[in-house]
Structure formats: C-alpha cells, structure tokens
Amino acid sequence: MKKNKILKKIKLRFTLNGEPVELETLPNKRLLDLLRDDLNLTGTKEGCSIGECGACTVIVNDKAVNSCLMLAGEINGSAIITIEGISQNGNLHPLQENFLKFGAVQCGFCIPGMILSAYALLNKNRRPDEETIKEAIAGNLCRCTGYKQIIEAIKNTKL
C-alpha cells in the first residue's frame, strides 16, 4: 500500500512591517506564497517566478529581494517590509505620494515592487543620481510606463 507522507512544519519568528510575527508553515514554501497566502498580504505580486521581473520584490533586512526566489525558512529572525508596510499612520510614504504626483502608475502591477526597490535605494543613498536610480530598478520590469515618470518620482523624493 502506498504510504502518504506529509512535510513537517517549521516555526518562524520575524518582524513584518515593524510588527513581530510568529507562525508555523511548511519549509518548502516560498516567501512570496507565505506573504500572499498565509498572511494575505497580496500587494506583493508574482509575474515570472524566476527572479526576472521584480514584481515580487520585498525588503528583507534593508535589502530589496525577489520573494519568489526565497524560501520561508530563510527569513527566520529577519525584518521584512512589504508594500503594505511603508505608509505610516495612514499617511502615504513620500515615494508613494510622488508615484501618484508624477503619473508613474499605469496598470500598477509592477508598482509595489518598483516602490520597494526605490525604498531600499533611498534608505542607503538619499540623493541618488539618475544612473543609480535606473540601476536600482533595472530588475523591476514595467511594460506600461516606459519608466520615465517612475524615475522622475524617485529622483524628486526627499526623505
């Protein structure tokens, strides 16, 4: 008779958008699925599943990473920020304000990842030049905007 096996769960502790989180999940789960399915944070998007489009970008310990390429187990003890976590007390983050003001949003599917890549950049370099900005978002594909208004929005953001 065929035996049914199931994976054991793992326990994770990390901070998510500033709040401590403790949960149990399967070790073969991608961070992307953990966020979208277990935690219902659907602002993080899936566009390619192979680390090419950047739609799934989140911040892990101050770095922008592709959550489709990271397994849940790797985040134990980390600090994670998603698009849902960057506005404070109901106020939009200056990057979010500027994305609106400069018309940087069309369909919006790439936008959470785009904003988080910019967020990681601005947190380590407050006055990046245009080339640095382009480099920072080169891993985030956008088919709608042609990037120009996105670059303007980032360039004009003062933290």
């Binding site: 998007k45 566009g47 090419e52 849902e84 369909c107 919006g108 599917f109 905007t145 990037y147 208004q149």
Partner: protein, 801 residues
C-alpha cells in the same frame, strides 16, 4: 466649441492610483473565495496531430483529482472565437498548435496536479506541420482547419487608379521586402480567472484579468449554452493587457466556468509565465513586399503592396487587424495609383490577434523605411520626401476617402518634430560619416610573416566604434474600429443626493487611465471634483455591451458616451433650475468648482450638493445613460474603397541613436514624439501613454522577437524574452499638437497606439543614417546589424547535440 477648460488637459492624479501604490488594488489572483479549486492544463508535445484517444486511467482515482474536464463536458459550442468559430475550448479532434489544451485537471494542490498532468496518455496521429506562412496556400500543404477548405483566413484587396499607368509614369522604381516577428504582449501580470457558480439557478459569476468582459460573457454563454444574463463577468484590476487579455481570457473563463458548474465550487485558473507565453496570442508577423514608382522630383506615382500575415492556428481578431493594415499600408501619402493585397493565413504557429498598434506597427516599419530609401535615391532629405507626398486637408487616401472635417495636422507634426530636433542638419552631417563595416587595414604579405604581434593601429579606434544617426517616421491612424466593426459605447452616470457620483462606462480600464479620463469629462461638464466621482467596478450586469476596448476606441467612443451621459444630466438640471429660479433662456447657468450659479446674477447660486438635495426632493431623476454611436462609415470589400474611419490622428517621431559598429549594439539616445491626439484629456496620462508606447516600440525595433521551433515558442519567460528595462531607452520628449475635430469628446481621439507604431521605423531610419546600411527585418538586434541575419536558438544545429 468650448475653448476654456477647468479640468480637461490638466495633470490629474489617477483615481485608482492610491490603491495601486499601497498594494490594496485587487488584481485577479488577489481575490480569494472559500473552497476554491484550481485548474491545471493538460497539453501534448505535438504541433499538428489528430487526437485518437485520451486515457486518464492512471490518474483518475488519485486523491488529488476532484474532477477532470475536457470537451465531453461542454454542453454548448465546443469551438468558439470572436470572429470565426475555429478555436476549441478543449482540443478534441486535432492539435493545431503547441499551446493547445486537451483537458484540465481540477483539484486543490496545484503542484500535485502539474505532476499528474504529465501522466495523461494522449494517443495522437502526427500530421505534417505547417509553420512557414509562405507555404500555407500551396496546394500540397496540410489544411489546419479542413472544415474551411483553405488556409486563407482573410484577403483584403484595395484598388485605386491604374497601377500599370502609375509605374509607366514613374522615373524610378524600388522593390523591397520587409519582415517583422511574433511579439509577445508581456503584460507583467499573467492570466488569472475565477469562476463561481451562483446558487439558485442564477448562473455563473466570473472575475479575472479580463480585457473585455462583454466578449468573455458572449463566449462563455455560448460554451455553457446559457442566456447572456446568466453569465456575469467582472473585470478585476488588470495588470496590463495591450490587447492581449481578450481571446485567451474567453477560453480560460469558459474552462473555469465548466469546472465550477460541474463541481459546484469556485474554480481558479492562474497561469505561470511559461504557460502564458506558450498559449496566449501574439502580434502578427508580417512579410511585406513593396514596389513603389516615383518621379525624379520625388512624387510617388504608384505603390503596389503585397502583405502576408501569419494568423497562426486560430483566426482571433485577424480580419480586423489586417484590415487596418490595408487602409494604412501606403502611409500618409497621397498616391494616385495603389494596388494592395493583404492576406492572412493559418499555420501551426501560435495564434495572433490584437496587440497595441493593431496592424499598424508592421506596415509603418516597412513603408517609412521605404520612404527614406526613396529620399536617399533622389538626394533628398527624409523630411523633403514626406513634404512632397504627405497628406494635407482635402487629400484623398488610398481607400478614396477625402480627409476633411478635422485638422489634418500631418505637416504640422512633421515640422514640429524636425524643428525640435534640428533634424535636417544632423541628418546631413551623419550622412557624411557612413562607415558600417569594422574598419580594415591594408597590409602586405611580409608583415604577417615577420610580425605576429599586433600594433596599435590594428585595433579599432574607440572613436571609430560609435556612429550617430537620426531618423524620422510619420503616420496617420484611423480612430476606433472603423468600417469593419460595430461601433457604439454606453456610459452610466448616477448622481447621489449629497452631490457625489457613480460613473461606469461599458469599455474596460486596461491600465491606460481611462477611468480617470472619463471622470475628468464628467467633472468638466458638471463642475464636480474628480475625487467625488466613484468609478464603479465593470461588470456585464450593470451596463450595456459597448464592444471591445481595442483599436484606440476608449477615448473617442467611451469618452463620447460619458460626455453624452453628463450632458443629458446637465440639460435636465438646467431645465429644472430655469423653472425653479424663473430664468430666461438667455441666462447662463454655470457649473464649476462644485457650484452652480447664474452668470451675472450671483444670488442664484447653490453648492452642487445643495442642488442635488433639492433636485432629489423635487423628484428629478439624477441618473442617466449616455450613448455614443460611431458616425456612419462604409466600405466596399471588393476594391477596398470607402470612408474607412470617421476620423484620423497624426504623429511624427524622430529617433536619435548611436550604433556600435563592432558589437552591433544600438543605443537609443532620444526619441522626440510629436502627436496630434486631438484634445488631451489628462496630461499626466497622455505623457504616460507616450513614454510607455515609445518604449514598447523601441523594444520592437531592437530586441523583441518570439522565435519558434516547429511552432513552439522558444522564449517562455523574461530571462529569454527581453523587454526594455529602465536602462534601455534614453530620453523621450513628448510634444502634443491638439488638432480640432467634430468627433470624440471636444475632439479627443487617441494616443496609446500611434505612440508605438512609429518608433521602430524612426529607429531603423536612424540606424541607416548612422551606418549607411538598410535593414529590412525586425528586430534590428546585434546580429542583424553585424551579420544581417538572426542567430536564433535552433536555427543552427550544434555539433554537440
């Protein structure tokens, strides 16, 4: 015509923007319903084959399978299609292209289902495959759909004047052939849809990444054999479409619906990127043969055009797409004698349909490349040849239509683009420095014998590596569907008693910012702030069918309907106030800044919400349905003559590039895009359309291509199918010339597609200006520049394989 606007033409922040920057906007996969099952597709490895038998015995009893769906579960139409019913929901008689699906496994665990999908045994009888469209019409080629007796999908002829006479009157004749490849839409959000059975015999509810809810409804109703009112389709926030989420979403919605009704549970289908590229339709590859005759002064006397489009395995929107090509194939030039044939044929390749540009990017690439060659052959500059032949007010198009009743701004966009870029001077300067080939050195035999070490002068000097080029392209483009399609749209506007409003149009938001543009139109007419307008979710139950959101229809048609709905209310409100305030017909009632007042009689003034409260109490209907039927147009199929579109837009783009003659790399320094879209409704949105369209056009020009091996797409994800990134395109400078037009809201027409159609031709002309060589085959990528051919995976068999 109103000349001063309060909101129109200003930069307005998109209404759906806040939800999109905070991650709250709900795209198709963000909707979750309790008890949902998932569908996973079963495909074959075949390109063309007869299906003999499908055997599920190995997986049928697996605990991961809730049910298996195939063509035998279909109660209504087994084959569907927007124009021609040739596409099966599940293949049952034949496989005609590698994306074809024979069955869908339904269960909870997608990963397990994917493993099981490989265990379905499909017995096939292989047929010879047909992947070269040039061979489609050969008598001994296999028929893709034998029921139609031919592989010809459509033939659009156009005959004007006397072509032989035209060539006889010409001093010179040039003949060229151009080709363009399959292009993937590459919306960043892959396809996703959920179908939910409604209890109590209410039918089915579908929500997904759907471009046209009404076409999905029609197809699903046909497949389920349901009346239209039992299929309720809602568009989730759409993660890009560009024409691409239409037919494929009809099919996926039908599959999900069948499974949902069978299992009585919600069924979701979510494609991976690989499945998306494998099964979804593409932009048509064209092979275009142009023969042009012209005088030594540069006047074009005759143009003979023969175009072959690869429709792939299914018809889809091919007849409409290729129809636009036949109307616009000569470019915006007045030519007395024209003979055009556009044919589209079936092959076993991925099917092709609507994609941004809709039959124009291909022909603009060919015909604008050709114009430059005519200019060069006569020693004229590219702008001169276009001035000699280009449309002006009253010009007659190839289809015999007189251009009138709107500003024919072709010369104006051309002049503006040339002035803004100092075009002619730069072009002439670059012409002096042609040197495409890698520089050579001359040597005598003995050097080789005694000196094996290369000296400095044997390397390419860095300054010889980069060549600068500037190139131009211009176009005219018919607005909306034209004489081929049904053209009308509806809008619903309902003002609440507190002065806030609901708005909905039957055309769909595809990310281009239409909801905001429509709200601006209401705001302009009723004077209420855009923020007070709530744009309703588009579902087929709440608004009349307004046809597809394709072919630059949304502003002119949808905008027209919204304007009509607003004007109906405005008229009703004015009538009410005239009697309420006892005004005369001469009193001017003004609606602005959320107020209504009488000009010069300031005591008659109400805030908009005071007014609505009053009107509500007095029993005035605060809602309206607007309707905008497209103006009359007509077309004679046999000779391709008639009033093809009710109006046109004009554009000119100038590309400035650098070409590395050692690596073949083309760097796009700057694109200046001058467009007459009619009235600009939202400046921020309009700018975004230009940046986005030009960038897609640049990808089309220099790197995008979906290659195939025996019909199988070879680039199935973004690691291989390359679209432009933030680093790939230099500056883009949009300039708007707002021509007047009697159609569309205040003459607003279209912009999204013209921005894309010009770019590849402008870039190709700039590359020629840089290196002195003409390229005929898109994309003009590294190998094309250096080798004049493509290096494709599979083109050359490697020895090690």
């Amino acid at each position: 015509m109103k000349e001063k606007f309060n909101v129109i033409g200003k930069p307005v922040i998109r209404q759906d923007g806040k939800a999109k920057v905070t991650g709250q906007a709900k795209f198709a996969d963000d909707y979750k319903f309790p008890n949902t099952l998932f569908g996973v597709m079963v495909r074959t490895k075949s390109t063309h084959a007869i299906i003999k038998n499908i055997d599920y015995s190995e997986i049928e009893n697996d605990k991961n399978i809730v049910t298996i769906i195939d063509a035998s579960d279909i109660k209504g139409a087994k084959k569907t299609g927007l124009i021609r019913k040739d596409q099966p929901v599940f293949a049952f008689d034949k496989i005609v292209t590698p994306g074809d699906v024979v069955a869908m496994l339904v269960g909870v665990d997608v990963d397990e289902l994917r493993i099981l999908a490989k265990k379905v045994k499909i017995e096939l009888e292989e047929l010879p495959s047909l992947t070269d469209p040039e061979k489609s019409l050969d008598p001994d080629s296999p028929l893709i759909h034998p029921e139609f007796n031919t592989n010809l999908v459509v033939h659009h002829p156009l005959r004007k004047g006397d072509i032989e006479k035209g060539f006889n009157e010409s001093d010179y004749i040039i003949e060229q052939t151009y080709t363009t490849p399959h292009i993937e839409h590459a919306y960043i959000e892959p396809e996703c849809v959920t179908a939910i059975p409604l209890e109590g015999d209410k039918g089915i509810y579908i929500i997904g990444s759907i471009q046209n809810p009404f076409t999905v409804r029609r197809i699903v109703a046909e497949v389920l054999n349901f009346p239209l009112n039992k299929v309720r389709v809602e568009q989730a926030e759409l993660g890009g479409s560009f024409g691409g989420k239409d037919d494929i979403m009809c099919i996926l919605s039908a599959r999900a619906s069948i499974a949902a009704l069978k299992t009585k549970r919600p069924v979701k289908i979510k494609y991976t990127r690989e499945e998306s590229i494998l099964e979804s339709y593409k932009r048509h590859p064209y092979r275009m043969h142009y023969k042009v005759g012209y005088t030594k002064e540069g006047k074009i006397k005759a143009m003979k055009i023969d175009i072959l489009a690869d429709a792939g395995a299914y018809c889809s929107m091919t007849p409409y797409v290729t129809w636009r090509s036949v109307v616009q194939a000569t470019g915006p030039y007045e030519i007395e004698n024209v003979w055009t044939d556009v044919r589209a044929v079936y092959t076993n390749n991925p099917y092709t349909g609507a994609m941004r540009g809709f039959g124009s990017p291909q022909i603009v690439f060919a015909q604008e490349s050709l114009m430059d060659d005519i200019a060069v052959s006569l020693g004229l500059t590219p702008d001169e040849i276009r001035r000699i032949n280009g449309y002006r007010y009253g010009s007659i198009t190839a289809s015999g239509q007189r251009l009138e009743n709107h500003d024919v701004n072709l010369m104006k966009v051309l002049d503006t683009a040339c002035e803004a870029t100092n075009f002619r001077e730069k072009w002439l300067e670059n012409e002096k420095h042609h040197n495409r080939r890698i520089p050579t050195i001359e040597f005598k035999d003995e050097i080789i014998n005694k000196n094996l070490i290369l000296s400095d002068r044997e390397f390419v000097e860095p300054e010889d590596t980069w060549k600068k080029g500037i190139g131009l392209a211009i176009s005219f483009r018919g607005s909306s569907l034209g004489a081929e399609g049904i053209d009308a749209a509806a809008a619903y506007l309902s003002i609440q008693s507190d002065g806030s409003a609901y708005l909905l149009c039957g055309l769909a938001e595809n990310g281009q910012g239409m909801k905001t543009a429509y709200s601006i139109i209401v705001s302009e007419i009723l004077g209420i702030p855009v923020e007070n307008i709530y744009y309703l979710e588009l579902t087929t139950a709440h608004i009349p069918d307004s046809g597809p959101t394709v072919a630059s229809r949304s502003t002119v048609m949808g905008g027209g309907a919204v304007k009509n709905a607003s004007e109906i209310l405005r008229k009703r409100f004015e009538d009410f106030l005239r009697s309420q305030w006892q005004l005369t017909e001469d009193d001017l009632i003004v609606f602005e800044n959320n107020k209504i007042y009488v000009k010069g009689k300031e005591k008659f003034s109400l805030s908009f919400s005071e007014f609505t409260a009053l009107a509500y109490k007095k029993g005035i209907c605060l809602a309206s349905i607007g309707w905008y039927p497209g103006p009359k147009i007509h077309w004679d199929e046999k000779v391709g003559q008639g009033k093809a579109y009710f109006t046109y837009v004009y554009g000119a783009q100038v590309a400035e590039v650098r070409v590395n003659i050692v690596t073949g790399e083309v760097y796009i320094d700057k694109i200046t895009a001058v467009h007459d879209p009619g009235k600009v409704i939202n400046l921020l949105g309009a700018l975004g359309q230009v940046y986005g369209g030009v960038t897609q056009g640049a990808g089309y020009a220099i790197f995008e291509e979906l290659s195939k091996q025996n019909g199988f797409p070879q680039e199935l994800n973004f690691d291989q199918y390359l679209i432009p990134t933030s680093k790939d395109v230099g500056e883009i400078v949009p300039i708007f010339i707002e021509g007047k037009d009697e159609f569309g809201p205040w003459g607003a027409k279209s912009l999204g597609e013209p921005t894309l159609e010009l770019t590849s031709a402008a870039i190709n002309n700039a590359i020629r200006n840089a290196v002195g060589e003409r390229y005929f085959n898109l994309p003009v990528n590294l190998e094309e520049v250096i080798l004049k051919r493509k290096l494709r995976p599979g083109d050359i068999q490697r020895g090690s394989l």
